[in-house]
């Protein structure tokens, strides 16, 4: 296996033809974001506007510092815009307070991080169970959900293992199970293959393709890797805080 091996695309599953006819789930309008570094204001995003449709698998690409992770964080509701609006499923998340936003995230967004971000003292089962703690599900219902999510990522046999006892790829699969266990409307993934070898990266991208095609999840993925981006239905490039183009 070499770095040039292609990551499998979602061609077999991609419902590209009807994408344009699907309703918009994410509306980003005139979003601006800047950071204060000492006395300097550093603009990160400038007048960003675009839509994401239901079931779309979008890859956000761009060089380091282009603002793609910031944009992902804004869409996921873990950061605040300076100006502009982000409407997701009819809810203007830029108008929500901290507590409402936390509740909204728990219900609507699944997160996949570059470094998996599993809680080391919890088993795979307990990590996946974590988001369900915030729902009103009973213990047995939660167990059913967790077992199903772990089955989807093919890790049922490792549910009692701690993250340290799992490989990087397995940890990321647990993270994916954690992201989908609450059946969120959108999944955000920040460099999901960035810390993995090619074989594990392939597995993860394959899983994400299945989530997109079979479960109809809307996926927004930030990546540096053009090969990984090829798995997406839509690719958007960010450069110096502005969107350049989009292609499917």
């Amino acid at each position: 296996m070499t770095m040039t091996d292609p990551i499998p695309s979602c061609d077999d599953h991609r419902p590209a033809p009807d994408l344009e006819t699907r309703p918009v789930i994410v509306e980003v309008r005139n979003v601006n974001k800047a950071y204060l570094r000492g006395s300097h204001i550093i603009p990160v995003l400038q007048e960003i506007s675009f839509d994401i449709r239901e079931g779309e698998f979008l890859a956000l690409m761009g060089p380091s510092g282009s603002g793609k992770s910031t944009l992902l964080n804004l869409i996921a509701g873990i950061d605040k815009v300076d100006s502009g609006t982000i409407v997701i499923g009819g809810v203007d998340i830029t108008a929500l307070g901290e507590t409402e936003l936390a509740h909204w995230r728990a219900t609507n967004v699944g997160f996949i991080f570059q470094f998996y971000n599993l809680i080391p003292v919890l088993t795979a089962f307990e990590n996946v169970d974590l988001p369900l703690q915030l729902t009103g599900l009973s213990r047995s219902e939660r167990r059913d959900h967790v077992e199903m999510a772990l089955r989807v990522v093919n890790l049922s046999h490792r549910m009692d293992h701690y993250p340290a006892q799992l490989s990087g790829g397995e940890q990321q699969r647990v993270a994916i199970a954690r992201a989908v266990v609450t059946d969120p409307a959108i999944i955000v993934a920040d460099e999901p293959t960035g810390d993995l070898d090619r074989a594990s990266a392939k597995e993860i991208m394959s899983l994400m393709c299945r989530l997109s095609s079979e479960s109809g999840k809307t996926i927004i993925m930030v990546t540096h890797d053009p090969k990984a981006a090829e798995a997406a239905q839509v690719i958007r490039n960010l450069d110096k805080g502005s969107l350049n183009n989009a292609h499917s």
């Binding site: 950061d79 936390a102 509740h103 470094f115 971000n117 809680i119 080391p120 919890l122 974590l130 988001p131």
Partner: protein
């Protein structure tokens, strides 16, 4: 969420660090408990004193005697229903280090005034009928292996000579606040010997002890007695037994204040140590807290995790510290029982230990919690990797 399970697992992620922190808290609580017990031991005489007893002594100083003849006038004062008298004997058993308090007392009235000294009836009768008889406290009898019927010789320091006594009774305290290291014998035995060897010192008493029916009349009775002997050669100072005991304690008050101050300093130091541990812990886990927040958990959950872990570590150390305080206090008492005849861990000390443990746990978690709750999720996530 199984918050308890999570915070306990978190607590033992760095076993060495947590272990050392718990050890520090244990030692601090042990030291705190011992110092508080020492302070309590100092006040034991005050605490054990009765509101129904008054002490009359020479107004100049305790070392100056009062005439025996005062007893009849004192007895006539309204409100007085019992009177006894005695002298501090200051005898030494074999060598100086074997110190214990010993008194010559008028036995009938003295035992009536001190019902907390529990003596079997037969021993009491034997003691009252034997002029050379003496009664020893249980602890002092155990320490020197004395049994009823044994002859004990004390070397007098205030009243010179070798004084022989026969142990006729061994008393036990009615409760554990009663000093069981005292030794007392017939005042008549002392006085008769003084008449023969030092007539000028005969018929003189070191103190009168009186019993009053109504503690509310203590002030009035005291004033009346002191007024009775005003302008005499030996003016009196009458005070409650508690005030009398306090006069001894107050001589060493500066030491007591220093001990109490040190006990508080120990808690403050361990508070800083635990706060440092919790700050390090929270700093290391700031990314995890950001993940929890990302998943929708609120600041209260993060606060519960940090406060819970801090309290868990602190209270575990406190529990071990309290557990160790009892045997250590026991060992301390065995070793230095002569100086601290009443030395036991009071319930109040245990409550103070628990309160200190709680305070350490709570205070140590405030800053790390504030920091973890306030940090922006995006900043927290950036710390990972």
């Amino acid at each position: 969420m199984r918050t308890l399970k999570l915070l306990i697992r978190n607590a033992f992620r760095h076993k060495l660090r947590t272990g050392l922190t718990i050890l520090g808290i244990t030692i601090a609580i042990l030291a705190f408990g011992m110092l508080r017990t020492m302070v309590s031991a100092w006040y034991a005489g005050v605490e054990a004193s009765s509101a129904n007893r008054l002490v009359i002594r020479n107004s100049i100083s305790l070392i100056f005697p009062l005439p025996l003849a005062y007893k009849d006038k004192i007895r006539q004062v309204s409100g007085v229903n019992l009177i006894s008298w005695g002298n501090w004997f200051g005898g030494v058993y074999i060598e100086e280090k074997n110190f214990f308090p010993n008194f010559a007392v008028e036995p009938n009235s003295y035992l009536a005034l001190y019902p907390e000294y529990v003596i079997p009836d037969l021993q009491r009768t034997m003691f009252l009928n034997d002029r050379k008889g003496a009664v020893a406290g249980r602890k002092i009898a155990e320490k020197f292996g004395w049994k009823v019927g044994d002859t004990v010789t004390l070397r007098g320091t205030i009243f010179p000579g070798n004084w022989e006594f026969v142990i006729r009774g061994i008393y036990k305290g009615r409760d554990r606040s009663v000093d069981e290291t005292q030794f007392f014998f017939h005042w008549d035995y002392l006085n008769e010997t003084m008449r023969k060897t030092a007539p000028l010192r005969a018929d003189q008493v070191g103190f009168y002890m009186i019993g009053i029916a109504n503690p509310n009349l203590a002030g009035e009775v005291s004033t009346t007695i002191d007024r009775t002997f005003k302008n005499s050669l030996a003016e009196t100072l009458t005070e409650t037994e508690k005030a009398f005991q306090m006069s001894f304690v107050s001589m060493t008050e500066a030491i007591l204040i220093a001990i109490q101050f040190v006990s508080i300093v120990i808690i403050v130091i361990i508070m800083a140590v635990v706060a440092n541990t919790m700050a390090m812990t929270a700093r290391e886990r700031i990314g995890e807290y950001a993940v929890f927040k990302t998943l929708g958990f609120g600041g209260r959950f993060i606060a519960r995790l940090i406060f819970g872990e801090s309290l868990f570590i602190s209270l575990l150390g406190t529990a071990i510290g309290i557990g160790l305080t009892f045997p250590v206090a026991e060992a301390f008492h065995d070793y230095l029982g002569t100086y601290f005849p009443i030395f036991f861990v009071e319930q109040r000390t245990v409550y103070l230990d628990i309160a200190a443990g709680f305070m350490v746990g709570l205070v140590a978690a405030i800053f790390p919690t504030w920091r973890a709750v306030k940090i922006r999720i995006a900043d927290g996530l950036r710390r990972i990797g």
